[in-house]
Assembly symmetry: C2
Homo-oligomer: 277 residues x 2
Amino acid sequence: MEVIKTIKEMQRLHPSLAKPLGLVPTMGFLHQGHLALIRQAKEDNASVVVSIFVNPTQFAPGEDYERYPRDIQNDLVELEKIGVDVVFTPSRGEMYPHGFNSRVEVDRLTSRLEGASRPGHFSGVTTVVTKLFNIIQPQRAYFGQKDAQQVAVIKKMVLDLNMDIRIISLPTVREPDGLALSSRNSYLNPKERQAALILYQSLALAKKLYRQGEKDAARLRGEMVRLIRKEPLATIDYVNITDAETLEELEGIKPPALVSLAVKIGETRLIDNVILG
Amino acid sequence: MEVIKTIKEMQRLHPSLAKPLGLVPTMGFLHQGHLALIRQAKEDNASVVVSIFVNPTQFAPGEDYERYPRDIQNDLVELEKIGVDVVFTPSRGEMYPHGFNSRVEVDRLTSRLEGASRPGHFSGVTTVVTKLFNIIQPQRAYFGQKDAQQVAVIKKMVLDLNMDIRIISLPTVREPDGLALSSRNSYLNPKERQAALILYQSLALAKKLYRQGEKDAARLRGEMVRLIRKEPLATIDYVNITDAETLEELEGIKPPALVSLAVKIGETRLIDNVILG
């Protein structure tokens, strides 16, 4: 396994990697959700690059960029075990040198949900993903469905800008009790860890009510909000039912619909989602 | 010579073109300035693609998108003669289908000069150039120095977003009397054609004064403005002396400096520039 820290080295290396080449972009502190993406990438491609880069430009001011969990040593052990070909771990200065001034923007899709709560977040995501695509030139790139809006935004960017890359999204990996895996779960104390189940429980409720015939988005959302409010450690940021592709809010639920939410558990903001349909 | 109208066909074709591949992006109505770029591209590369696309998103509202000169039949004759491998001429709907919503932005560099006079212009340029790069995947792309700011902006975009393409700019091609070649010269009546010489004359004056030792940007600019004002058909949009790379305005002239101007001759807006240094 090669560990590459500079853009120049990565650009020199990628033509020699067996094709098709799969890329799994991550911010590190790898969990089973990441590893599922990597396993799929290995299955689909002749070689696999994993990038580890905590991208400062996708954190809004006051968010957790500084304290975002990092454990590069353990990440490298996991990646070596799973048999990745290349790990690309550039520094902040390597990716954003002095005078950096360009952006990739996807409009509309990014104005809702996470985009509304985290100004500038998706501009940071689309810009860094474009850079990684150009540096590594993969044929396929893998993203977790836990970040459903991120997947929709990246697919739209690839479509609009004619990037020659297939975007593959894989189902959210969950703990046995339903909590979606996230590097940010490491912020939770034991009480909060228990309270965090409310995200999945409210999504499970939505699924159940929809299966029982509830097609009114406002009523479904109302039931979810009511359940979440019973958890004293939880503060709702948003709960939304939208078209799964355009992310436009729905009145009547037409499948595939995306039920997504962001909830603060204590000081930790968590997101999760399910698809109805 | 193949003439390709769809993105899908172009994507299917480019892997079979001999490498290195050179791209010359144009808006058609080809003149000797374009042909000089194409000749250089042929010299440098094993195959050459010329794109012809009058890009609506780089025209500000009220500009000349609708009446911009077009002559695809004559363009194809010229390109066949010069021995281009592929001409890519997509339609507007092919490049910007319903729901298109993405942009590439370069900040700072685009806020001055043409960017200040033509809001949204460079966003249109960087977005369409990114699309063409992704669709055609050239190793080199060619641009005329007449659009000096466009060259600077595209080079910055390529650098910041790590696009794997060399940007090559070639000197402005001029008529024997000094007028810079431009598709928009076709708008000029004979009187205006004569008056349009004032752009080059004022740049020639700047060069002469600089060679004679004038290093004060305000004074140099003042002399240019005074000369242009003597031409009754000319209205100045801007005359600026800036750093050639950052496009920051200069007080004392440090080479390489860009002297650029936009002047309306009657209703026709023309631009030109020279480098001091």
